[in-house]
Symmetry: C2
């Protein structure tokens, strides 16, 4: 079972995670791409990573934008898994 | 340019579109699948159709659920394109 991180831990780690912030108790970021093809291509990569991690995002797509919220429901908080998925999302977005 | 449908037209056509309703001026439906793999597999099919139609959904995915809203922003309303995409989404969900 993943352990929820403390607010102090989350705030200490957030600066290393480009573009992410803490919103409503979740790690939050909006990704903007050049087209729907680029956006959904990125989502497809993230989907493979998420399934492999067995940890899935809450995400909303409108054309070239994808808004993401990450939280670990089982742990009732943000865990290492959320930071790992966020980092992988950043890596996939920057090629 | 697509022409927005009248409310009367929309309400006349909705009964033929299983599971869809009119919410906040958009065609709305929540699809529930058996897993994330099933949900994202369906989304991948829909993405190909959407790109081909050059008409894209607003959609939110959380694990095995996908909530969809369809509207034609250019036309400031619901058009034939929204009904076409909704119908294709239903077809892809039922195999």
């Amino acid at each position: 079972m993943a352990t929820p991180l403390s607010l102090a831990d989350i705030q200490a780690r957030l600066p290393q995670l480009s573009g992410w912030s803490l919103v409503n108790g979740k790690l939050h970021k909006q990704f903007v791409f050049s087209s729907f093809i680029q956006a959904f291509g990125w989502m497809s990569g993230v989907a493979l990573v998420a399934e492999k991690l067995d940890h899935h995002p809450e995400w909303m797509n409108v054309y070239n934008r994808v808004t993401v919220d990450l939280v670990t429901h089982d742990a009732h908080g943000i865990t290492d898994l959320d930071f790992e998925l966020a980092e992988r999302m950043n890596q996939l977005a920057t090629g």
